[in-house]
Symmetry: C2
Subunit: 432 residues, 2 copies
């Protein structure tokens, strides 16, 4: 097999990964004099900030996913290839992929990050990550299935473990899914499962740090904790999960919680690709780059977004935080630099401009920090809605999400409570 | 485990299967003096007439699926239990299920039918059925994935087999999916896959009978065939598929078609359950009943819908056709009879009233027969849209489907072209 793309007189930019960074880069290179080839395992871009709403049955996967081919219809200098990027051979300027080899002039690694289980295979086997739409669907199915099982379970102890949910990690994802599940417990469960005692559905939020949302101000952390506690979440600061076996979650203080639903949002690890020298790989697998996002020791190869770690920025000696804003800004800068290089101009180093951070907790509850302004409650929640609705791609997706949010707001109930499973034979049956 | 439902002074009606028939029965028994227990493998009802639109990426699964618990919220005499019905012990009036035993006063079998592969294991392994939302998702994924693979396939012959689609069965499902895929070929493929030659995507509709839609009038059959041919479908009447191996579809005349996508909508077989005497099982597994839908030799046990075969109706000596209308009308009659029996009145035999049949072929193309009126084209298509929109449960689903249809109509393109897979570990990881 081969990439099957004709070379022309344009320089080719190959992008690995169509997440926020990769997509932004491809969009920035539209209407330019580059041939762009985007490689991704999926045929769609997904919007990370709303994945927790798919997991909590508030939104459909299709509302936050956008097929690449649709996005770049009628874009003559753009090619999409579905498959896995395996390794880089920068001497030959070739990317080896599952669909064959791809020559490039410039290569941009934007494959993001995956869940970090820190080498604990038990946790990896039992706990549910929440980084992708697929994982979110599985999480949703598990939560709903365990409620169904609890209905018919005789054994008191096992029934309780089906009703317990442990969330590990108190960053934005942990806070958001905890809030969403607490709302499900309050509004959906009593009506849908009248035979279950909804009060017995316990939601634990285990966090290694003393405070939640530690990348935010301590006032925001305190507010998030207070809000979650009011919503009935058992916030457990200063605890870590050390193991997970047969539905038993072992904590650092020797105690344990029996829970059949364990959600792991406790850390990430950069995606890997072969051919990068070991000396160019930093903390948690991040690919080390200079201030131009140029990979250390690999001319013409760039790394952006969660997969990268920019060295040499005095304001961020440990690298920039792995946030959406950083990914988008790095992509924009690399796109502009490629155009500058093409014009024989000097590229410019990346500087991060913090536009603010926010996290939603629940209905009319959120925290936001923009410059010196730190606020919470209804205003932060409304701002969160507007910002995320604006960022979602496509008029139709915007409309559908807006309608869903309105519907859920006035109905106090999610209606997407389907345990939908697509079968696994899909790939095998169609292999050569 | 146990069903976990308290008996009260109400007679209990256990219903196996929440398809059109089972759901209709449960809805009819709302606000009555029966305790209703619905057992289904899934936690949602699905709407069969629109499954082909999920398969062809025109609608999301959630738009045609409705969670049972949501439907029966605040319904005090209703209980839902997710699980599989295994066997009936009518001497003890007990249904054995995957979640334990369930006592009943009346039992209604409404488990529908599954795809009939007529014992050919090769076909069962390679071909894709289209009876459920899950199967439709898998079919959608396969079609899209094969287009992606075709893009990077070097081998001319193998690329062609990735582009060929064989649909087996010329009933409404076969006609509808053939039309929907033909529209995808015409509108979506050229724009999304500019490197592929859309003309090389061949859609074959193989039908054993000389005419399509043989349950309809021959004028409708002719119209459907003409429309499909105009849309570029290779209709192959009078052919049967005898085997299917490694992407090669063998036909009855000794010829074969290389196709990686084979859709099997060629026949159904009634769902099975243990404990029914062999003498009470008729053609293609259908459970034999008298004219009151009472299972032969099993007092208090009824069978309705696709799973049943009513004997003794002079107008239908081979039983009624396995259609949505029959299922709904049988459910209504059984519900009324149960209430009559409760009031010590005589039950009434089932009589089928044919309200008409229709099948959609494509944009502004459909065929309809209502009484003596037989028509096609735009008017039939609009009627089809109205009838199906009316039948869909829930205001929100109606709205979403209507918006989707409008969107696709004016845009000439489906936007749900996501290859979304939920993972398979879901069940295993949460087992005790």
């Amino acid at each position: 097999m081969r990439a099957n793309i004709k070379r022309n007189n344009q320089k080719r930019v190959a992008i690995v990964g169509g997440g926020l960074a990769g997509l932004q880069l491809a969009l920035r290179l539209r209407h330019t004099d580059f041939q762009v080839v985007l490689v991704d395992k999926n045929n769609y871009n997904q919007f990370p900030p709303l994945i927790y709403q798919v997991a909590s049955a508030g939104l459909e996967p299709s509302s936050i996913s956008f097929p690449f081919r649709r996005l770049f219809q009628n874009q003559r200098n753009f090619y999409f290839r579905m498959g896995e990027a395996l390794s880089v051979d920068n001497d030959e300027r070739v990317l080896h992929t599952s669909f064959g080899t791809l020559h490039y002039d410039y290569l941009v690694l934007a494959a993001g990050a995956t869940t970090n289980f820190f080498g604990n295979v038990n946790i990896e086997r039992e706990a549910l990550p929440m980084k992708t739409v697929t994982e979110a669907m599985k999480l949703r199915n598990t939560v709903l299935q365990n409620l169904e099982k609890a209905e018919t379970e005789d054994d008191e102890h096992h029934r309780q473990s089906l009703l317990n949910i442990v969330i590990v990690g108190g960053g934005p994802s942990g806070v958001e899914i905890a809030g969403a599940l607490a709302e499900m417990k309050r509004t959906v469960v009593p009506r849908d499962y009248p035979d279950l005692d909804a009060n017995r559905m316990n939601i634990y939020l285990v966090n290694a740090d003393r405070r939640l949302l530690k990348s935010m101000d301590s006032a925001s952390s305190a507010r998030a904790e207070k809000d979650l506690r009011e919503m009935g979440v058992n916030v457990m600061p200063g605890y870590t999960v050390v193991d997970c076996r047969s539905g038993q979650v072992m904590l650092s203080d020797g105690s344990s919680i029996d829970a059949r639903t364990v959600i792991w949002v406790s850390g990430i690890r950069a995606s890997t690709i072969g051919g990068i020298p070991q000396t160019s790989i930093g903390h948690a697998g991040r690919v080390l780059t200079d201030r131009f996002n140029n990979v250390k020791g690999m001319a013409g190869v760039y790394a952006i977004g969660d997969q990268s770690l920019v060295e040499g920025d005095a304001d961020y000696p440990l690298g920039h935080p792995q946030l959406a804003q950083v990914a988008i800004q790095q992509a924009t800068n690399v796109a502009e630099n490629l155009m500058r290089i093409n014009r024989n101009e000097q590229p410019r180093p990346f500087t991060y401009r913090n536009l603010g951070t926010m996290a939603t907790i629940g209905r009319k509850r959120a925290v936001a920090e923009i410059g010196r302004f730190k606020f919470g409650g209804l205003s932060a929640w409304l701002l969160w809605l507007v910002v995320h609705l604006r960022s979602i791609l496509g008029v139709k997706n915007k409309t559908v999400i807006f309608l869903n949010w309105m519907w859920n707001y006035f109905n106090y109930k999610q209606s997407l409570r389907l345990i939908l499973k697509s079968e696994c034979k899909t790939i095998e049956t169609n292999k050569k």
